[in-house]
Amino acid sequence: MTLLSIENLSLSIRGTPVLRDVSLTVASGEILGVIGESGSGKSLTAFSVLQLLPEGSACEGRVKLLGRDVLAMSEPDLCAMRGREVGMVFQEPMTALNPVQTIGAQVAETILIHEPKTRKSEAMKRAAQALTRCELPQNKFPLSRYPHEMSGGQRQRVVIAMAIALQPKLLIADEPTTALDVTTQAEILALLTRLVREDGMGLMLISHDLAVVTDMAHRIAIMKDGEVVETGGINLHHTMKHPYTKALFEASGHHPDRSAAPQETALLEVKGATRDYSLPRKSLFGAADTFRAVDNVSFQIRRGESLGLVGESGCGKSTLTRAILGLEPLQGGSILLDGQPVGPEVRRKMQVVFQDPYGSFNPRHKVGRLVAEPFHLLNRKASSAEVDEALTSVGLLASDQHKYIHEFSGGQRQRIAIARALIIKPELIVLDEAVSALDVSIRAQILDLLADLSDKFGLTYLFISHDLSVVRAITDRCLVMKAGKIVEEGETEHLFTMPSHHYTQTLIAAAPRLPGA
């Protein structure tokens, strides 16, 4: 039975067309995967169903939910529909929950809004049931918990419990696992699949990640620039016709060509590095506890090598990165770059690219000044020829140096970040989740650029990521980190095909795979 049918939906916001002629259907018990890159209109399509659109939006076409036209419904009718017939799961579990309310109150709220005659105790009982169904049993996660007492994955379960508390017919999940670790992602996806099967719900799963969607969806729609370019079943990778779909599959499994071979000499040596943080005292006279973020870590990076460092959030990889960059003191061990301890002298041999292309730049400076910042290490100003060269080597124009950073897209900003890292010709570049925030096609371009630059300048990379497919694509050797320790180390291909440590095996098993990859 068709639950939701979107027919020729066009949406414009303040006169700018955003969606064109979108047609999709979701049946009961069916999982529709909607895939697209940022700006493709996939989230706005979902919000059109709920009519939660920004001011100045105008919809044309038809959105039929359970036989009723959503576009013709009045606001009170829409309010009655939202949450009862359609549940929504958001991307960021940190912000989707109210930090000052208990999880029980938040789940019960959905019930109380739609069934105001329910007694509070009754609503709480049903909230407990919903949470239990989302694998948050009452003996371990009572209703009185606050969101900050839970992990990201557990919070996402609370968000899902809120969405399914009234057993809606349709569930919309907008990038429900993007903010989560791979193993947590696998659990949340399994939970969603189970709920869909048990309740016979329709699920509209929106994601930028082909692998996540192809793993669990029954049908897939690919969106680009506000249009659905292709729809298909689970065997889409065989039946795909549209060039964009093909490009998307190609980019998702992209392996850049690298030719440079690592030399035998070690560039960076980490020996027994240990970093402790002191925790707040529990009592006035008790000794302060310490938390060991990095525990006796040792490894080497050879010249010209690309080394991957994989681990889930909280495993200590960011702390280790900062320690390598000389931004965090160590409590034990040493970090040597080219045989010397990290200090002002050797800093110039090392640069960094951060994850967030939006937070990496001072918004008040022009690109030319931003890119030239590392010249501080050389105690001189960058010549304009050097800035030109850095920008052109990452595929930007020399004239871009006169612009401000907000005039660039995420992918361009990441190129600028790489230009900033390259400009003083360092030997080691630390890439801290450098492609994690990018769309797949942009990510493929940046990976190609990195491979190309390492061939050209003989660069050494330390590639830190939670994304296994990316690490596999670009690194020669790989470290797996868990709870502050390196649990496994080996040649990347070998490590991925024959993981020996059980944690590595779990990680690799949890990672969603592209069909045919």
Binding site: R347, V352, G359, S360, N362, R364, H365, L370, E373
Partner: protein, 269 residues
């Protein structure tokens, strides 16, 4: 943009009036003409006369000098000391320096500002200069706290990390990266403090601790007019309007300036 032009124009009018008063005023404000007292506005006296027969228009011109000077210098003291203190506290968060600076601020905040002003004037004698110092001291913690709070969140940004990787020290990062990004807040707070400064000077003069007679100030004029409000409302009205429009002009100018300084908004326009 419109608010900036309007605000700047309004502020400029008062600044010009204050400057002009050095060269020329319609009447001499030190000469009393009791026979002419409490005259309503007329062609000869645009804003009327006060209870000593002085021309209110001339007094507002001369009073603008005191009021604007007090506010400018007081905000200058507050910003000049408070902002570097706030930047230093944020750069060394959790250190002894941070504690000393912030607890010092708490100390100043803990005293009622008028009380300290009275204390200062009791020791050094009432004058406009002492009023400026008293008001200035109370602006320091306002700016120090604001700067520290905003700077703390900026210190965790990736671009600050990138600057540290580029080997830049705390002072340089504070000046190059932190200060430009807290500037918009400081400008807005500055205009608010500027208005509060004018009001504080009025308050101090009102209780007789600010500018001393015969130097007119807007606050003194209001204070003198208070008992006459039923008899001759214009005596209170005009200095009141002068304060109102200066504060309005400054607030509009501050808002506009903040938008103009933001490169993002600049391009969108």
């Amino acid at each position: 943009m419109r608010s900036l032009i309007f605000g700047l124009a309004l502020t400029a009018v008062f600044a010009l009036v204050a400057a002009l008063s050095f060269l020329w005023t319609p009447y001499d404000v030190t000469v009393l003409e009791i026979a002419n007292k409490l005259k309503p506005p007329s062609v000869a006296h645009w804003f009327g006369t006060d209870h000593f027969g002085r021309d209110i228009f001339s007094m507002i011109m001369v009073g603008a000098r005191t009021s604007i000077a007090v506010a400018v210098v007081a905000v200058g003291i507050g910003m000049g000391l408070g902002v570097p203190l706030g930047l230093a506290a944020a750069a060394r968060k959790g250190s002894l320096l941070d504690e000393v600076i912030m607890r010092g601020n708490d100390l100043i905040f803990a005293f009622p500002s008028l009380l300290i002003a009275i204390l200062i004037t009791a020791i050094f004698g009432p004058s406009a200069v002492n009023a400026i110092i008293a008001i200035g001291i109370f602006n320091i913690p306002v700016f120090a706290r604001l700067t520290r709070g905003a700077a703390l969140s900026l210190w965790t940004r990736d671009y600050v990390l990138a600057a540290r990787v580029a080997g830049k020290g705390a002072v340089r990062i504070s000046i190059e990266h932190i200060l430009p990004n807290v500037a918009n807040l400081l400008i807005v707070q500055g205009t608010i403090q500027f208005s509060l400064g004018i009001l504080a000077e009025a308050a101090l003069s009102y209780v007789g601790l600010g500018a001393q007679p015969p130097t007119p100030s807007w606050g003194r004029m209001l204070a003198d007019a208070q008992t006459l409000i039923a008899l001759a409302p214009h005596v209170a009205l005009f200095p009141g309007f002068a304060i109102l429009f200066t504060v309005l002009g400054l607030n509009l100018a501050g808002d506009g300036l903040r938008d103009v300084l933001d490169p993002k908004l600049r391009v969108q326009r």
